[in-house]
Symmetry: C2
Subunit: 536 residues, 2 copies
């Protein structure tokens, strides 16, 4: 189950001097401060509406996630965010005051005082925010963690929408200068290292111009402590082997200008047409619909009724199906029709897509109870989108460079779900949740559930441990900000698939019989879940 | 309606001396001759079983078409086939005796005394016999006129199966040396001119080795006299404008050896993989099934139930969908999905194929009453075949050289069904029949019906006069042994589409309303047939 915690009302304010409720206290501190204790009012910099200040680059606080705010005040206090004003201010606050202030600002109506500098085009950075730059730099889109429209996701991914431009630019730089640390998995340092200064400015302008809404309040804290408070544990590689350098990323474009097009570095792979190059006609409109369905499959008005869980095509096919080594759609298009052992017949690409709905999207549990028909708008749109992505690719090439996931060689130690549990807690839970539940932004899935009722079923390719290990090794964590060892990938894949998930739609009524008919081999653990979901 | 005339029993034997029935007389002449009149018995050369003689290169007569035999004896008599033995022999026969002998041999059980020379591989010429060499030479396969397995079709296309090797080789050469004339449209002269001597030998060996069956007895004589008895009219171009030379054919390979592969000369067009290069696996088997369905659509065990008339895919897409400028399938494959005004939506290639069944194959009148479903074996096989033909073609190229039919510029005179009737009689009726009825070989359509209940319906693309004119100009008569003028192509297209045909399946119940919704423009004559079929 997805966790959707309503803001927790703090009731324990032990050790706080006054008798007034925490909310009142917080409001007084925020607006008036406490001159006796040398505590300046928050409104002095962040403004009375909590919308921040463009002039001094103070962030908006109103409507931010309370746990995120608490963590930041703690970071000021403990020195992870050195700041001449905020550090002494934070040091004067009791823990209960920090919590109360966080709740106070989280509960304020979202507000923004941000202003895009004159002469800057707020749309210039949109592509980085919404699409990222995968082939060039394996750079995820900002929205992939910070949520749709930058609304913010839980305690780790703050809202970007409506943050002052000057604040965003300064913070992005601060990760690289070391002025700011303490983000989980050291992701923002890696992100910033892949951006030019002009790009950080462009993307800051984009988010500064976005309307503010309340941040998504989810708790993805791992029981295993995925986000340890100790900065020394901030690079949570569980392996004693040093990770290989990120060979797939290109020489970084730092301090440069916004590249005219996408950065090079597709390493000889096929390049699909640019997102903006869709034809301006009826066909182009259907391609655009297909792209939207591909990235929002389970919630899209057209395709949602065929999806019986919280999965989207893009979950397994990164960069909207464009990315080499992440099962790109251009390679799939030219490889079908093809004979598949799984289908025991030649299948067309439409049937292959229908198979994704049947298994990975568990269509049986959907509103209509079955995959979209060949004549449906969903299939028309997806087929058109795949076809368009393959523009120029040679028909019949079943071995295009970058097709599927690069197979991962087996390790001497094999794979072990128990070892995998630790890998998961340290590297995956921050996004996918301690119990694999993922994050649901309401109108969009931010991080897909990895097991349980809302995940792929036992017939999906990803239930195979070798397939999952290959996907994880090459593509996870999203953006490859750190590289798992082969052993870690195998173990965490075994852990993921050791949980139960929806039944194989080919279920004959008997697990052993179904296993005999449709499953087999060392990597197939159908019908043998060994780890119980915590929510069950 | 297709004409299937049972052998006509000759009852009029006026002017014949004896009182015995014609059959008895014929038998006596055939076996014993008539020494008094200096008439040698046929059996002397053609053998008692009528199977011909390999030693002296005498053709088999047993089971041949009676009208074909009559015409040949007449040609010996009138000098179109000069022959030192046959000419004086024929001159001694009365017309009734010629007719009786023809009937006698036609009624004999098919027999063959042919023998392939030692050391020759009878399979070496199979590709020419069954596939022809379209891209290289626009050379139709022998079977396309002489019928499946060379059984012979009507009076114009004699059986080839079981003819003595030496006879076939000699006759093929005879067209070029001028030793033999009088074939309709001067086709065999043109065919032989496109073959090397080694090829004529290879193809003769192939047919000499084929088992004999009774020839197909159909009468495709045109009322307009498509096959005039006068040799001077043997090149029946109705236009006063001399035909342009056949620019599309390559320099002819005469007196050479059998080419190792297909001849060159695809004129820069895409080349699909060779027929024999299908992969030797499950997928290849489905491709082969698709090829068979493509060429035998209406009679194939898998696809026949979806076809409501006597049409096959290959009827409009020559050379099994391979030929440039004949709407080749490799160009179609990479052009879909696409938005089509006709469908008012983006259609996939599967839906495009289903459209062919709906309109060109009039599926509504078929056994099942609808086109094959996307999941059907027929669609699997056809889609796989098309995909395989497009191997290496660039995905998304909607303008491949050779796609569709080259559009035909309009002429000053416009188009006129009445003028077209004469063009048809002179150039088309020999194959498609005087009333457009086509030729049905029972297990295979040899020439498709062009109008009436067994032809394409009013929703098919070919009902558009401009589409039909473009197809005809570039591709008809089959093999382009003569070239119609633009004016002739327009007129005969107008003639063809001036006949009635099955209703548009989108029929609303009212012709005017259906026309307003789905038809329009100068080239669309839906609902306005002006020429009545002779069979109605």
């Amino acid at each position: 189950m997805l966790i959707r915690l309503e803001p927790v009302i703090l009731t324990l304010l032990i050790g706080f001097a006054t008798a007034v409720p925490a909310e009142e206290t917080a409001k007084r501190l925020a607006i008036l401060g406490d001159s006796e204790r040398g505590i300046e009012p928050c409104a002095l910099c962040h403004q009375a509406n909590g919308g921040g200040s463009e002039a001094i680059g103070a962030p908006r606080l109103a409507g931010m996630n309370a746990r995120y705010l608490t963590r930041q005040i703690e970071n000021f206090k403990n020195g992870h965010r050195p700041h001449s004003v905020m550090q002494p201010w934070a040091e004067r606050l009791a823990d209960a005051e920090i919590a109360a202030l966080s709740e106070y600002f989280a509960a304020l109506p979202p507000a923004s005082n941000a202003k895009v500098p004159d002469g800057m085009d707020p749309k210039a950075g949109e592509w980085l925010a919404l699409d990222g730059d995968w082939p060039g730099r394996r750079l995820p889109a900002c929205r992939q963690c910070h949520g749709p429209r930058g609304i913010g996701v839980g305690q780790h991914f703050p809202a970007l929408a409506g943050q002052p431009y000057n604040y965003l630019v300064r913070q992005l730089a601060a990760w690289t200068t070391g002025e700011r640390t303490g983000d989980p998995l050291d992701m923002m340092n890696a992100v910033n290292a892949r951006l030019s200064v002009a790009e950080t400015q462009a993307v800051a302008a984009f988010y500064a111009s976005m309307p503010v809404v309340k941040a998504l309040d989810v708790n993805v804290e791992s029981e295993h402590g995925a986000v340890p408070p100790d900065a020394d544990a901030m690079r949570p590689l569980t392996s004693s082997i040093a990770p290989a350098p990120m060979a797939r990323t290109t020489p970084l474009v730092h301090q440069g200008e916004v590249p005219a097009g996408r950065a090079p570095g597709t390493a000889g792979h096929f390049e699909p047409p640019a997102r903006g190059d869709k034809p301006d006609d009826e066909f182009g409109a259907v391609v655009a619909l297909g792209e939207a369905i591909f990235t929002q499959t389970d919630r899209h008005a057209i395709s949602g009724k065929y999806v019986g869980n919280d999965q989207v095509c893009e979950g397994c096919h990164l960069d909207a199906g464009r990315l080499a080594d992440a099962s790109p759609m251009w390679a799939a298009w030219v490889a079908y029709p093809a004979y598949r052992d799984k289908d025991r017949q030649v299948s067309t690409i439409v049937e292959r897509i229908q198979g994704c709905f049947k298994y990975s999207m568990n269509a049986q549990a959907s509103e209509v109870g079955h995959p979209p028909a060949a004549e449906s708008r969903t299939i028309h749109a997806l087929a058109s989108y795949l076809y368009w992505l393959a523009t120029g690719a040679p028909t019949g090439d079943k071995a295009m460079s970058g097709r599927g996931y690069p197979p991962l060689a087996e390790t001497e130690q094999g794979f072990d779900p128990t070892r995998g549990a630790a890998v998961y807690a340290d590297n995956c839970a921050i996004c996918h949740g301690a119990d694999g539940e993922g994050v649901d932004a309401g109108n969009e899935i931010v991080f897909p559930p990895l097991w349980g009722a809302r995940s792929y079923n036992w017939g999906a390719g990803m239930h195979m441990i070798n397939t999952a290990a290959a996907f994880i090794k090459t593509n996870m964590p999203l953006g490859n900000f750190l590289e798992l060892t082969d052993q870690e990938a195998w173990d965490v894949a075994a852990f993921m698939n050791a949980h139960d998930r929806p039944q194989d739609p080919r279920f004959t009524g008997d697990v052993a019989e179904t296993a005999a008919q449709f499953h087999g081999g060392r990597f197939d653990v159908y019908g043998k879940p060994t780890i119980q979901s915590k929510s069950e």
